[in-house]
Amino acid sequence: MNTGSVTTLPRLESAGLDGWMVRLFDSIEETNLPWITALLQRCESAFGTAVVDLVPSYTTLLVVFDPVQLSPLEAQQKITSLLTDLTPEGSSGTSQIHELPTFYHASVGPDLERVAEHTGLSVAEVIACHSQKTYRVFALGFAPGFAFMGLTAPQLECPRLDTPRKKVPVGSVAIAARQTAAYPTATPGGWNLLGRTSARLFDRKREGFSLLNVGDQVRFVPASREAFERSGGDITPMEACQ
């Protein structure tokens, strides 16, 4: 992608009266995340009560600060100093591997066949391909706790549906382009549904609310219908969820 700029990275861009966009990278790589989460943690401790929100995503960190405590210039200087000797979060750090039990089946994954057709793989190969890789959470957005993860294997690349579904059931596991996700709540959605996880992805009563956080590592673990149900999964077929 042409960003039309020759300025070096990282750089700070104005994001309004109370925000700075820290642009660290210019392409989507799983290796970006340890750098972004490291900066996020530094900002958290350095800004203290002056931090309002820190929104990490793929290549950037949006820093929203309290404009009463800090001027944009003061915030800029603070962030710049935090960037000078930044080191990525170590693999032994807080980032854990989540295993999401997933029931891959046409009854809850109505696009399995379509994906197989599009990719030239068999359904079994699609499932194997999707569940063998460990993914990184790039960003949370679209809905509370909705984690954009990747990258999926190149042979699994598949476009979104032409017409999004009005309602995708809770827990649906999906792919689009080279990303994967699981729906934390029933929302509209245009991704290809492969199955369903019993993991509770978003819970407003839980400490931290979201199971998955940016930078986390995730694996989808194939589960039998029985194991899926035992762990609290809902096997109501897709058609009955509309």
Binding site: L62, L140, P144
Partner: protein, 317 residues
């Protein structure tokens, strides 16, 4: 040990109207989870309504869009309505706006249709009481968060609304907003825009057009964003890798028509931006009806910061 203030049923909803939402300041510290900010679309008028009702900063008010709401008081209440003039009447008599008013038990408070502005804020002394969801009662239906039930349900007919009981002493503070503090929402506003990183990527006449056009507020406008209609802006960048979006961000999708992002916006997005409106300009835009015209004015951070800090300081309790 702190004790929670007592709350009690105060109001019954006779007719919910098209859109009435409970709003405190909003949800913060959770945007990295994909949870939107919420809060009053017009922060300025919301702050005034609370102040005039004798409430501290951050109290929950009702944001009434378009009007159509009818309520009856189930006990004597002190209230203030600020923001849009939606033709509110108390037992058929016009309610003065931007000042404290007594609403007696049994009286009907009725909102009509917009006379000027789009969103009115009703504050009751003591503040509305509701169970917080993720630190806020701000109602976001899409996320099933906030509101009187805690799960994002909009106001419905026959709902009974609770307020916190205020102390027995008279509410302190001013009871009327001075005339200069009451915006005239029929005037076409000049909206302060702080230029952002992609501004240099707009080509040809686009930058001239952006700041020298009377943009028309489109009818595709809600609490997520307000679309502006006018000349097509051209940008060298069609899309970005999704990144966090701040309040007031002015994004320009490939159709060249800017969208100003408000309180219930998606937390991340990937369109190039002209920049971001100041918080007070976001407030002002939130009062514009479809068809009204607005102007974008490029401003520097320092002057806008001074104004915003002065606003916040005047409301600090």
């Amino acid at each position: 040990m702190t004790t929670l203030p007592q709350s009690d049923i105060a109001i019954r909803v006779l007719r919910a109207g098209p859109l009435a939402l409970l709003q405190d300041r909003g949800r913060f510290g959770v945007r990295h989870l994909g949870v939107t900010q919420g809060g009053p679309a017009d922060l300025y008028s919301w702050a005034w309504a609370n102040r005039l009702a004798g409430n501290p900063w951050g109290s929950a008010s009702l944001e009434i869009t378009f009007g159509g709401l009818q309520l009856v008081a189930e006990r004597d209440l002190d209230i203030a309505i600020a923001g849009a003039d939606l033709g509110a009447t108390l037992e058929g008599h016009p309610v003065p706006l931007w000042q404290r008013v007594r609403w007696s038990e049994g009286q009907k408070l009725t909102f009509g249709t917009p006379v000027s502005g789009l969103r009115a804020y009703l504050s009751v002394r003591g503040g509305f009481a509701a169970p917080p969801a993720m630190g806020s009662v701000a109602c976001v239906a899409r996320e099933q968060l906030g509101g009187f039930d805690g799960h994002g349900r909009k106001l419905a007919d026959d709902d009974r609304l609770s307020t916190f009981k205020p102390g027995i002493t008279a509410a302190p503070g001013i009871t009327q907003a001075p005339p200069h503090a009451r915006p005239d929402f029929r005037e076409p506003p000049q909206l302060d825009l702080l230029p952002g990183a992609q501004i240099a990527e707009f080509t040809g006449r686009s930058l001239f057009d952006a700041f020298n056009t009377w943009w028309r507020v489109d009818d595709r406008a809600d609490r997520m964003g307000v679309r502006l209609a006018g000349p097509k802006l051209q940008c060298r960048i069609r899309s970005l890798i999704s990144e966090g979006i701040n309040l007031g961000g002015v994004q320009v999708p490939p159709d060249g028509q800017p969208i100003v992002l408000l309180n219930d916006r998606q937390t991340i997005g990937g369109y190039p931006r002209l920049g971001a409106l100041s918080p007070l300009s976001v407030s002002r835009l939130a009062q514009c009806l479809p068809g009204q015209e607005v102007r974008l004015v490029a401003r520097s951070g320092e002057s806008v910061l001074r104004e915003y800090r002065a606003f916040l300081a005047s409301f600090a309790s």
